[in-house]
Symmetry: C2
Subunit: 270 residues, 2 copies
DNA sequence: AACATATGCCTCTTACAACGGACATACGCA
DNA sequence: TGCGTATGTCCGTTGTAAGAGGCATATGTT
């Protein structure tokens, strides 16, 4: 799904270089493999000469890298370092590692921290459970919001109209091919928000159940979720325990979300 | 050091928006804390109106984020995700995790993977050693190349002239205040390259010794280094063992560097 | 109160980046 | 051999984004 990246609204308009550059980065990220400049230009339906020039600039800056002698390029090392810097300054990411560990150990199930990335749901961090066959998913991969339990919580601060505008209509088509009624979805959003919890049998497969609890900022807005992914039989058997553990962790994590801009002093220490 | 970011060479020239945008990202990364648009404009000595506009575009794209109500911005979540995508596709990062673990366990010392980031040295990954008081450093922080053992290896593919052009003159001023003769440095580079190894007592402090071994790509070029950071007495006592272990790991890792573009299939697995 | 400084927002001009399209090369296939 | 497609490069045009500067507000200092 979503093979083409949105480029611009007004067709006659000339696109800004910056935006085109971001489109290139997004395309490579979604594609998950290197590509040649020409391929990229075609995929984005952007002028070739422009794409070539932008890629040259991005290569120069280290945001893209040449991956071979055939001209293929992919996301560059600089992005990795910028991502590190983001992470270092973002309390939530740091804090939650411990919570994910705790959840995974206590429940033996896979625990995840989930967030919005643009108008998609995505797993920001994951800790696999302590079982011989573990359930895992792709960290950082964009997924339609309505496919996920966390999705119900992550958009709960929006009005009905905002939600409908925010989520592309195509995203209400579930992996099964069936279409989820947006009104049903919104009802679930409201209910999840009120309950401070949402759980359902995962739509993307037929053997897991997902538990999601909101991590809220000062204003009470759900900025992320903590999730447990459990096989359905275990989920049924331990439902109340899992729910309680998850709610506890999420509430705890929420309280830690006050201080954002501490200078992150990770200096040399013997 | 290096408070001002390089903007452009020809003074009268109008800077490209893309480059200015990258300067903004770099500035925030180096600064390691949120800043207001005006501060950024002043710090980069870039026109305010331009910086405001660029920041708006970067916010829109998610590469920057508003961190509070006072207009402060910092690197955004999107960069984190782009960094994840980079990492997922970059064999070296994946492969080396195991090697760092192995090194740290076998030697009980801190092990690092180091690379160039632009014209600086930086620690890309780290695994702390198994000691009560561990030595660590900042992952992702740019450090002048001549300050580090790895630096000798990382520039060894360049000619003398290229090295002198590549490393800012200011970077030859060591943390002690003394200036390292560039010719001395280059001699060490050549020697390190020939030996496939470099070790010295760290210039940035007075209690550690650093061991560095090159990770080479197909062409024999040093694309990264594996390092051990040890207290000086331990380093002396176990010098040969540490060196052998490190060289072994680095050679091994080098051989794994052949296949770059495997599709990184981290799908759902029960 | 007068002043200096930091900040955000706006307008106008023009240098130049985005673009379209021509050209050249390489490859696979009939 | 000829044809279609994929690819990279170059150049002239023009729409527009980068830049300079002015206005307004807020805060702190004398």
């Amino acid at each position: 799904m979503q093979t083409k990246i949105k480029t611009n609204e007004t067709p006659g308009r000339r696109a800004r270089g910056l935006d085109r550059a971001f489109d290139i980065l997004d395309y490579l990220r979604e594609r998950k493999s290197p590509a040649r400049p020409n391929q990229i230009a075609v995929a984005l339906s952007a002028p070739r000469s422009t794409v070539y020039e932008l890629i040259a600039a991005l290569l120069e800056a280290g945001l893209l890298e040449q991956t071979d002698a055939e001209g293929n390029v992919f996301l560059g090392r600089k992005l990795y370092f910028l991502g590190l810097a983001y992470e270092a300054n973002f309390d939530l990411t740091r804090e939650c590692r411990a919570y994910l560990d705790r959840l995974a150990i206590e429940t033996r199930e896979t625990a995840q921290l989930c967030m919005l990335d643009g108008n998609k749901y995505t797993v920001a961090m994951m800790r696999e459970g302590a079982r011989p066959f573990r359930i895992s998913s792709n960290v950082g991969e964009p997924v339609p919001v309505p496919w996920t339990a966390s999705g119900r919580l992550l958009v709960s601060h929006m009005t009905d109209e905002e939600i409908l505008e925010f989520i592309p209509a195509a995203d209400f088509v579930l992996p099964t091919g069936a279409t989820l009624n947006p009104r049903t979805f919104i009802a679930e959003v409201r209910q999840a928000d009120k309950a401070g919890f949402f759980s359902f049998e995962t739509l993307a497969d037929n053997f897991t159940r997902c538990f999601a609890a909101p991590v809220r900022d000062h204003g009470g807005r759900c900025v992320a979720t903590l999730c447990l992914i459990a096989p359905r039989n275990d989920a049924q058997q331990y439902f109340e325990r899992y729910k309680a553990t998850l709610l506890d962790a999420a509430a705890d994590l929420s309280t830690k979300l006050t201080s954002r801009s501490l200078p992150s002093s990770r200096t040399i220490s013997l």
